[in-house]
């Protein structure tokens, strides 16, 4: 007699499907670009063979491969961070930046890009310029890191999760105000440099920076994996989670740490990449028809990586020299697809408690 009790977790065939899609998107992103490199050549280059044109190997190794790896890591990082925030705050609109981590990063970058010569901040910035091309990433990391620290300290004290959410929002408004103020008093070319950063790009991470970037993302993802069980317990709300023996405050600390690391490091190296973090968890929920994080978390990770790769391919507008802003592409192409997926299912409302 078949057991009436369903199996939990992700079905193996879904995992295989998601990995296959990711692999396809990965090859696609190496193939397409301002120069078209045929897929079989890409595979030959990756496996250490000689391509038909020697310059292609350079294009792949110096530009496309780091960019593709970055896109995958950022896509996975932001999707997982978004999922964690949506569950923690029981709010479908929560995104990875809800606690102000990206605001902190923006502030750091704004101080560097816009603040040069603007009085008190200048000494700080000339110090940073020693790092050369790393200075933006460093400034953003410092900004994101200090917000992260502040949020973590507050999260240990605050009993109520909603208070934390409001604090994060308020902090976001505050930093946005300061950034706006800096923009207001800056020269136009600096403002443009800042908005270039704010448009998001996966192209800026070199192999050297990758040595910092990827371990941070991977450790953030690792923590999120350990947090799957607490996230599931939190589905019923803080009170039930406590009654199940969960130390809610400690779980919250680690979840916020993981999400903020993921969001912070992504923003530091690629600018604030919106949309993935809110949208992908919803798509995963809709397609898998579950709220169980044992399925949702790995699925969001894989879907987010694929989504970011595809968005990046489109942003490169293959065959042309144009590079469109990443955030624009994500929203323009992503919104219709994701609306379709989500509206097809009717249980978005039921996915979250009020």
């Amino acid at each position: 007699m078949p057991t009436p009790f369903p199996k939990l977790g992700l079905r193996p065939w879904i995992v295989i499907l998601l990995i296959a899609i990711l692999a396809l998107a990965f090859i696609l992103s190496l193939t397409l670009g301002s120069v078209h490199i045929p897929p079989e050549q890409v595979l030959r280059i990756l496996t250490g063979g000689e391509p038909d044109k020697a310059s292609w190997a350079d294009v792949i190794f110096k530009f496309r491969l780091p960019k593709a790896v970055t896109a995958m890591l950022v896509g996975a990082a932001l999707s997982v961070a978004g999922l964690q925030m949506q569950t923690l705050f029981r709010n479908p609109l929560a995104d990875p930046f809800i606690l102000g981590v990206s605001s902190g990063a923006s502030l750091g970058v704004a101080l560097v890009v816009l603040g040069t010569g603007a009085g008190g901040a200048s000494a700080f910035i000339t110090g940073l310029n020693v790092f050369g091309d790393l200075s933006l990433a460093v400034a953003a990391s410092l900004g994101a890191g200090s917000v992260l620290g502040a949020v973590l300290i507050v999260s240990r004290r605050v009993q109520n999760t909603i208070t934390l959410l409001i604090l994060g929002l308020m902090f976001g408004y505050l930093t946005n105000a300061i950034v706006s103020l800096l923009i207001y008093f800056s020269q136009p070319e600096r403002v443009q440099a800042f908005s270039l950063w704010a448009a998001g790009s996966f192209g800026g991470v070199t192999w050297n920076q990758m040595r910092v970037f990827s371990p941070v993302v991977l450790s953030g993802l690792f923590i999120s994996y350990v947090m799957i069980k607490p996230l599931n317990a939190l589905l019923l709300g803080d009170d039930y989670a406590r009654s199940l023996g969960l130390n809610v405050r400690r779980a919250r600390f680690w979840i916020i740490l993981s999400a903020s690391l993921l969001a912070g490091v992504s923003t530091a190296f690629c600018g604030p990449v919106w949309f993935v973090g809110v949208a992908v968890p919803h798509v995963a929920r809709s397609l898998l028809n579950t709220a169980d994080h044992r399925a949702l978390l790995p699925a969001s990770m894989l879907m987010g990586a694929s989504f970011a790769l595809v968005a990046d391919v489109i942003a490169q507008s293959p065959g042309s020299q144009f590079v469109l802003p990443l955030n624009v592409i994500m929203s323009l192409f992503g919104v219709p697809i994701i609306l379709w997926v989500i509206l097809r299912q009717k249980q978005l409302r039921q996915s979250f408690a009020s």
């Binding site: 009790f5 369903p6 069980k229 599931n232 039930y240 199940l244 130390n247 408690a353």
Partner: protein
């Protein structure tokens, strides 16, 4: 098993103090009291979700409020008030959350865990709902799933805060009967707060009666009815409790007395009584004839006697319409 000595509960102001409580295995206790008396606070304090202002709660030999959360979760489960929204989880996935205190860091269910979950679902009759998503379930089904989730913790004590609040009458009866059966079958002590006094009186093994003054009366339901505790507590809330019928008096007599006579065991007498009370008469059945008098004759016949004369009726409705139009008829002595 769960006990407290001179416990004071409340947030900042004490709501009730000097509480000496005891919950025993396989016992189903209903916590009754007016709104605001502190039923939820008492439950939350006993569940370890809120510290007591004074005194302590003991679970076996250990102090419940210093017990590690995981240890407590293996001995005590709660079902909180309010509808649970847990996204699109299947009922089965939701019940497995009850194994949280037992599973490893990945939350991997061992065969033993699966057995416990399935057992809990069978006991509560929600095994048939296993693959249904929570948001498709009715309130009654959802409540049963939440109880199964509590039982999956394999607790010694199950606390429920107004589990019947959203249910219609048949579901309420069903749920309380289920809880009573569970207390017997699992040897678990069950404490629930409820507003369904009538049902609690009939089903509970014991009542905890919390008044808005913060006094707690404990006893078996019949005892509390007999010694007047029930009547006393609810009188202060402006509701009369009738010792004899074991029910609240809903109607204030405004029409003066009427005497009623008929076969004591008859159903007809009881319903005639209710009809007369409903329209506002103070019904007497002690054999003394009043100026207005009703005889319940054999099946479906009534005879009404008023100072103006006698009439016979074959339906209750015609009897009632034949009663004096104004009901402020003064009694004739």
């Amino acid at each position: 098993m769960l006990s407290s000595t001179s416990l004071t509960i409340g947030y900042h102001q004490p709501l009730a103090s000097g509480l000496n409580l005891q919950l025993r295995p396989a016992e189903m206790v209903c916590l009754i009291g007016p709104n605001g008396a502190g039923k939820s606070t008492l439950l939350r304090t006993l569940a370890g979700m809120q510290p007591p202002l004074k005194g302590s709660v003991k679970l076996g030999e250990a102090d419940l409020h210093t017990l590690p959360a995981l240890e407590l979760a293996k001995q005590l489960a709660v079902v909180l008030t309010g509808r649970v929204e847990a996204g699109n989880l299947s009922a089965y996935a939701l019940v497995t959350l009850g194994r949280h205190p037992y599973t490893d860091w990945r939350g991997k269910l061992t065969p033993r865990d699966e057995e416990a979950v399935q057992h809990a679902m069978r006991l509560t009759g929600c095994d048939v709902l296993a693959s249904r998503p929570i948001h498709e379930l009715s309130d009654g089904e959802r409540q049963r799933v939440m109880i199964a989730r509590g039982l999956a913790q394999e607790p010694k004590i199950l606390l429920l805060d107004e589990p019947t609040a959203f249910l219609d009458l048949p579901r309420r009866v069903e749920l309380l009967q289920l809880l009573k059966r569970l207390s017997r079958e699992t040897n678990c002590a069950i404490l629930l707060s409820t507003h369904d006094l009538d049902l609690a009186l009939r089903i509970a093994d014991k009542l905890w009666l919390l008044s808005s003054q913060g006094e707690l009366h404990i006893g078996i339901p019949e005892e509390l009815a007999l010694n007047g505790s029930l009547a006393r507590i609810f009188r202060s809330e402006g509701i009369e409790f009738d010792h004899a019928s074991g029910a609240f008096k809903v109607h204030q007599p405004v029409c003066g007395p009427i005497s009623l006579h008929g076969d004591k065991d008859g159903v007809a007498l009881a319903w005639t009584w209710r009809a007369l009370e409903r329209i506002g008469y103070e019904v007497h059945n002690n054999g003394v004839r009043r100026p207005i008098h009703v005889d319940v004759l054999d099946a479906g016949h009534w005879q009404l006697t008023t100072p103006k004369g006698q009439s016979k009726h074959v339906t209750l409705e015609s009897l009632i319409t034949a009663l004096p139009a104004t009901c402020n008829l003064q009694p004739i002595t």
